[in-house]
Amino acid sequence: EPKSLRLSETRFPKQRRNPFFVKRPPFPSPPHRRLPSLGSRSSSEIKCRKLIMGKWSAMWLFTRKSVTGALFGLTISDRYGSIVPVTGSSMHPTFSACDARFPGYLKADVVLVEKFCLEKYKFSHGDVITFKSPTDHKQTFVKRLIALPGDWVQVPESSEILKIPEGHCWVEGSSGFDSREGDTCDLATPTNKPSGKKEGYRENFTALIYFVTDYLLFQARFIQLLNLHLPFASRP
């Protein structure tokens, strides 16, 4: 019976553009059993054709597929959302504390972050966001938004009142001031005071932390996946 062609091949009947493609005879159907004729290449025929291919073409196919998958995954995680583990103890009741070293982070809470909010930078008080640290752009922190531009905050454990300038925001962790050295900061709130890095929460440079997703390109607003707290994590 005639080999039925795909619709595109009726118009442009050319060889598939696979450099390793070798002309093979059509798939022989054993005489005692007929393959179901499905109108075009059946899926079993396609699978057998792939098995018949040499191992170089199989490897080529594999690299092509993995490059495609990598591109796709990278685009999705840059623009729409991704899944990240959370380490560190500064958000204690919301995300359980865990180690950042090897076996510890396998038990980390895994959360879903979405990036749709980065179009217009519309956040609300109480959102949990992730951001790159102003002191080290390779580190990412997780904190809760306390104040947005234009709000006034009282710096904890001191009596100063600050107004959040345009383009900035104030974030705090939820577990109080008992962060250990080396964990993510409780209050990622750099102030003008040169008081060093003691207790992990005052840092000594310039102004208030910048609006967190400025330089962030990704990540904001968690929805917890594995702890069954679901979206209520974003309300204080």
Partner: protein, 197 residues
């Protein structure tokens, strides 16, 4: 009436038969394959734009204030090629023109020149128009500060009319989106952007 009805009935029957004959499976497979190709192309473009090199239209000021990067970048803006590799690798140098998100409004991107990396000492004059030559007592406010860790100091080329680190302070390194290294449009302005020190 019967002829009309029977004509309609036969038309419908013929339509059903033709509907069955249309190669739906091929059409569906074709459509999926083409859609997948378009998606792959879009992802490829996004990845190249975000990680390798991209094209950006740069207006040199974040407000419609004026030409902060004259003479390097035109008054009305230029189209530049922005490479994304060197900020990620940390190989920015003093004198590079960078594209960054404005710290005052993260929805705007501005182009400025890096004049100090972290740890450098920068000197700047807040209001250069004040330091004129025919003032007998020179009251020029000169500031000296050290760029803190993880930050860069950016200034526009046209210091008389530029809103930059002298106003909003050093900028965190993570705000930098890319390094503008070449102008691509208008055609008479095509060329590499130099490193003025």
């Amino acid at each position: 009436m019967s002829t009309a009805g029977s004509r309609i009935a036969s038309f419908l029957r013929g339509a059903a038969a033709r509907f069955g004959k249309v190669p739906w499976r091929e059409i569906r497979e074709d459509a999926f394959e083409r859609a997948a190709l378009v998606l792959k192309a879009a992802c490829f473009v996004h990845v190249v734009n975000a990680y390798v090199v991209g094209i950006a239209f740069v207006r040199p000021s974040s407000t419609v204030r004026g030409p902060s990067m004259l003479p390097t970048i035109n008054l009305t803006g230029d189209v530049v090629a922005v490479e994304r590799v060197s900020p990620r690798w940390g190989s920015l140098a003093v004198g590079d023109v960078v594209i960054l998100l404005s710290p005052e409004n993260p929805r705007k991107t501005v182009a400025k020149r890096v004049l100090g990396l972290e740890g450098d000492a920068v000197t700047f004059v807040i209001d250069p128009a004040r330091g004129s030559a025919f003032q007998t007592v020179v009251v020029v406010l000169v500031y000296l500060l050290q760029v803190p860790e993880g930050h860069v100091w950016v200034q526009g080329d046209n210091i008389y009319s530029s809103r930059d680190s002298r106003q909003f302070g050093p900028v965190p390194y993570g705000l930098i989106q890319g390094r503008a290294f070449c102008k691509v449009w208008p055609p008479e302005a095509v060329g590499l952007i130099g490193q003025k020190l």
